[in-house]
């Protein structure tokens, strides 16, 4: 089918309004066909802002969300700037998700405002692979600034939404300029033939994706290279065994 000229010109207009004049839209694929096919461009857009929050109690501790962000950051190139206000992140866990300590620079800021300023600085710099911000409130204006900063350099911006109280988590419904919005919550791990905890499993919800549709995935947590995986019962057996042999650590 030939593209309709009217639609094409409308698309061009929308692009112009959105201010996206990037020549190459590069993406960071998850490496899982089921997830990548649901994302516009077959992967997480580089040079864009992505929001991640935890579900349930994860909205406060943000543990699964932090590992999810670490996994994404681990698969980028270059150093990672991690801006936080509460220094309870345990670096050995990030190393197990594929982010060795040499790659991560932490900035401990006093308040959310400083975090935002540091993240923006990091995104504008251009030499970083990913910039992670742990923050509670994120206004439309602030997220727009970050999104523009990321567009300018091609670094991936990951905003880890983390609140002090469960009731504040309703803030996650407010619109922001982020490209995608994810919610990661812990699921029971698969039963093993022996006593013990299997590879951690998450419910990963793609709540919002610009120019895409939302979706839910049940995924296995990051391995030591930051890659997620599909649970064994959802793919054929040979693939599952390969996944196990690769060594589940997180």
């Amino acid at each position: 089918m030939r593209p309709e000229p009217a639609i094409e010109s409308l698309r061009a207009q929308i692009e112009k309004i959105e201010g996206r004049s990037r020549r190459v839209k590069s993406v960071l694929p998850f490496g899982i066909a089921e997830v990548d096919s649901r994302l516009p461009g077959e992967g997480l857009a580089l040079g864009a802002l992505h929001e991640i929050a935890g579900g349930g109690n994860g909205a406060i501790d943000g543990a699964a969300a932090a590992l999810f962000a670490a996994g994404i950051a681990a698969r980028t190139k270059g150093k990672v700037l991690w801006c936080l206000t509460r220094p309870d992140l345990f670096a050995p866990a990030l190393a197990q998700a594929g982010l060795p300590p040499d790659r991560v620079i932490y900035v401990e800021a006093g308040d959310d405002k400083t975090v935002l300023a540091c993240v923006e600085e990091g995104l504008r710099h251009g030499g970083l692979g990913a910039v992670v911000a742990e923050i509670g409130r994120l206004s439309m204006t602030a997220s727009r600034r970050l999104q523009l900063a990321a567009e300018g350099t091609g670094a991936i911006g990951l905003v880890l939404r983390r609140w002090r109280r469960q009731t504040e988590a309703t803030d996650f419904g407010q619109p922001t300029a982020a490209m995608t919005r994810w919610r990661v919550s812990a699921l029971p791990s698969p039963a093993l033939p022996v006593p013990g905890v299997g590879r951690h499993r998450w419910l990963v919800e793609l709540i919002r994706a610009r120019a895409g549709e939302s979706a839910d995935f049940e995924l296995e947590a990051c391995d030591d290279t930051g890659c997620l995986a599909l649970p064994a019962h959802m793919v054929d057996r040979s693939r599952a065994q390969e996944g196990w042999r690769r060594g589940a650590s997180g």
Binding site: A63, L89, F90, Q96, D102, I105, E121
Partner: protein, 465 residues
């Protein structure tokens, strides 16, 4: 006569001003050395120089026994006033100099508080100078000894007594010196610090026929000064680590801005940027007449040859970003994590400067670690079989959770090579998962059999994703 007495000497009964013969009687075998005021002053100057390079752009010796510094615009590099003073005192103590420090609105107040308040670190809030000095003895006012004696005869003991008196009769009786010192302490009269300058200091300055005040104008002249400074640095092959901008105002007050860099820098654009980020902290008042830029710490730059390669991507340099952020949030708040050889989880991570060389070291061990580690382990109530079963259920922060699956124990030992108390201490860590799928990292202090190894209480230490 005894000129100086440290803590050990005072414990032996020696006092400043005591005749030397008396001291020799009190302490048999006392070694008497002649006082060398010139050498003392020189040593104090050296110390002031060190403080200047390390802590504040305006510093000077305050003889006979003090150093005065204007920390405005400099404490951010050390994580705030408290952290800066604590660090300074620790370092001085490390080189055998017991010191006390105080921050106050004025030189006079800080002088009095550091010497007479009896605390090693004291930070008085802005605007509280009068209340802070009132309870101190009048000797704290830097008055001549004869004047102090006269005041004592009249019954003045505390500064507060003097402040309560009408000024005119005091001036009539004791001359203008008393009033001047009181005003200096309260900030009513200006007192300038004549900053010490190292001999080979690289500095550039510019004076203006017409005082400047607008931020844009200041930024423009900073740009010009940085160019000059970089040219001077280039001649000597140096890069700057500490850069001070001193703004002399029309009303004879100097405002200072200090920026620090992680590695020696000689890049005009970068230095201008660092300084211009701080313009908002300058209060121009009625206008600035002299701008002065000094490279307080300059180090040789080792220039590297870069090889352009078709295969490898060049590793992008992030040191400029680190500098920008360090000057914004403080140098200690930007860091990398590095492994420490310790089994105790909270001690296995240390902070290293963000630009320290990469070692490639990481944590060993295949046991999973939680991404969030609680500040201090929280006590939980459990139902558990001893010695080596995970709990069946536990209560944390008022919520009872049934343990569905568990992994462990992973036995971790204390640092027995460092502390005797940890010779036998162990912790048994379990990774547990509750009904809802939430995973936690809990441990039992002790091995479950021998009470000497720990209290056998259970703690929650981390949250897994």
């Amino acid at each position: 006569m005894v000129v100086a007495a440290d803590v050990a000497a005072q414990a032996a009964g020696l006092r400043v001003g005591m005749p030397a013969t008396k001291a020799q009687v009190l302490v048999p075998g006392l070694l008497v050395q002649d006082a060398a005021p010139a050498a003392d002053a020189e040593a104090l100057d050296r110390l002031a120089l060190w403080v200047l390079q390390r802590y504040a752009p305006i510093a000077a010796a305050d003889p006979p026994d003090g150093i005065v510094l204007d920390t405005t615009g400099a404490d951010h590099l050390h994580g705030g006033e408290q952290a800066m003073l604590a660090g300074m005192i620790d370092r001085l103590a490390g080189s055998g100099i017991p010191a006390r420090a105080a921050v106050a609105d004025t030189w006079g107040t800080a002088h009095a508080l550091a010497r007479y308040a009896g605390r090693s670190i004291l930070i008085s809030l802005p605007g509280t100078a009068e209340a802070a000095v009132a309870p101190l003895p009048i000797t704290a006012l830097r008055l001549p000894l004869a004047l102090v004696d006269n005041l004592r005869t009249l019954g003045f003991d505390r500064i507060g007594d003097l402040l309560a008196q009408p000024r005119a009769p005091l001036t009539l009786r004791f001359g203008p010196e008393l009033g001047r010192r009181i005003d200096q302490a309260l900030g009513l009269a200006p007192e300038l610090i004549d900053p010490i300058r190292p001999e080979d200091l690289i500095e550039v300055r510019r004076s203006f026929p017409e005082p400047i005040a607008a931020a844009e104008t200041i930024a423009r002249y900073i740009g010009k000064l940085v160019v000059q400074l970089c040219a001077a640095l280039e001649e000597r092959g140096l890069g700057v680590r500490r850069l001070d901008l001193l703004c002399h105002r029309v009303d004879n007050i100097t405002q200072a801005v200090r920026v620090g860099t992680a590695l020696p820098v000689r890049d005009v654009k970068r230095l201008t940027r660092l300084l211009c980020d701080k313009i908002e902290t300058i209060e121009p008042g009625f206008g600035i007449e002299i701008l002065m830029l000094t490279a307080t710490i300059a180090e040789p730059i080792d220039s590297k040859q870069t090889v352009t390669s078709l295969i490898d991507d060049a590793v992008p340099d992030v040191s400029d970003l680190v500098d920008t952020l360090a000057n914004r949030v403080g140098g200690r708040r930007i860091y990398r994590a590095a492994p420490v050889a310790s089994d105790v989880p909270e001690r296995s991570v240390c902070r290293v400067p963000a630009m320290s060389p990469e070692t490639g070291a990481t944590w060993s061990g295949d046991w999973p670690r939680p991404p969030r580690l609680l500040d201090r382990p929280e006590l939980i109530e459990t139902v558990a079989l001893l010695p080596d079963h995970p709990p069946v259920s536990f209560t944390w922060r008022g919520v009872r959770r049934r343990v569905k699956r568990a992994d462990g124990p992973e036995r971790l030992f204390g640092e027995w090579w460092k502390r005797d108390a940890e010779l036998v201490a162990v912790r048994d860590y379990f990774r547990v998962e509750d009904d809802a799928g939430e995973r936690f990292w809990i441990y039992r202090a002790g091995d479950g059999e021998d009470a000497a190894t720990g209290s056998h209480r259970w703690f929650l230490h981390g949250v897994f994703g």
